[in-house]
Symmetry: C2
Subunit: 170 residues, 2 copies
DNA sequence: AATAAAGCCTACTATTTCTATAGATTTTTA
DNA sequence: TAAAAATCTATAGAAATAGTAGGCTTTATT
């Protein structure tokens, strides 16, 4: 028995793309949570450290999941942690020096859309015969460069700054 | 019982990122197959139509999977199909007029990395409180624009042309 | 020294998405 | 009428993501 919402013909009849139900090839929740956590810690710099539990509640992130994420960020050198009573997490770098590209690479891995176009996680594509002449590869190297131009230049500080941009009169 | 290759500590000891095993947030096989099929059909324009079976063999794509993909492309108006003996598939447009962005949208859906930054498949993000002031959103709209600048301007004809670029002396 | 608060670490489960296959149907040509 | 081909929907299988569990270690406080 097939679920109504995933039934092809009903979606077709209603002209619903599957992306209405799910949103593929997107940023993982892990990455979103990581960014939100870093932003929150960036705003909390006068008052460190911040406990996982507080952070989880404030940002509506499942606590145990957040634990793992923070651990990754810590192991990558972006966070400082302190155990025991009165402990918690705080930023180990200036928000200006934490770039989204780096966060993405820690949480989601490669930024490129195909392995063979990845800068930091290069791998040969399975379906590719001759990489040198692959037109797809060349295009997706361009895409990677364009994406990276944004992500490697946008820092947590920028994200925080942008949050209040709407106050400006346009 | 955990599989060796997925065991965290062994990966850690060998310093292997999980992307070595799998490659997340990337182009789906469906999309890759679609592009390859269109490129193949683009090269076969003097000799149409081409049968699914031949195309599948030539491009090393699982036949029944390819069927579905071609059907999608056909329903979207990019392919012409003919049933019965001597039938098959051929391009319904000039390769110059088939852009990668459009293919991606048919096969994978949105191009943006977050729903709230999508041009064609906009949807509110679950974890977002105030979209107007969301710094993440603004950044990923920039990413989307950068990506689209490449994908919406690169056609199947461009991909084909690029395949022989290496012949040029650099 | 004992206790409680917090992070550390690995494994596991559950859910969802992607990939692929199945099989019956329809259309066309010879 | 038989064979060749696409059409269509459903289902199965595989992989990735999301989330949970629970014991361990460190630190501060009393």
């Amino acid at each position: 028995m097939t679920d109504l919402t995933t039934s092809l013909w009903i979606r077709k009849a209603l002209q619903i793309h599957k992306s209405f139900l799910s949103f593929a090839s997107m940023l993982s929740k892990k990455t979103k949570y990581a960014i939100k956590a870093l932003v929150a810690l960036g705003k909390n710099r006068e008052n460190p450290p911040m406990q996982i539990v507080r952070l989880a509640e404030q940002e509506m992130i499942p606590r145990k999941f957040l634990e793992q994420i923070l651990l990754d960020m810590r192991n990558a050198g972006y966070l400082y942690s302190k155990k025991g009573a009165g402990g918690g997490y705080s930023l180990n770098k200036d928000p200006k020096d934490i770039y989204l590209a780096d966060i993405l690479r820690i949480t989601d891995g490669p930024i490129a859309m195909v392995p063979c176009a990845s800068l930091k996680f290069y791998r040969k594509c399975d379906e590719c015969h001759d990489e040198v002449t692959c037109g797809i590869r060349k295009t997706f190297i361009d895409v990677r460069d364009a994406t990276l131009k944004v992500l490697a230049q946008t820092s947590i500080a920028d994200v925080i700054a942008r949050e209040t941009d709407d106050i400006q009169i346009e």
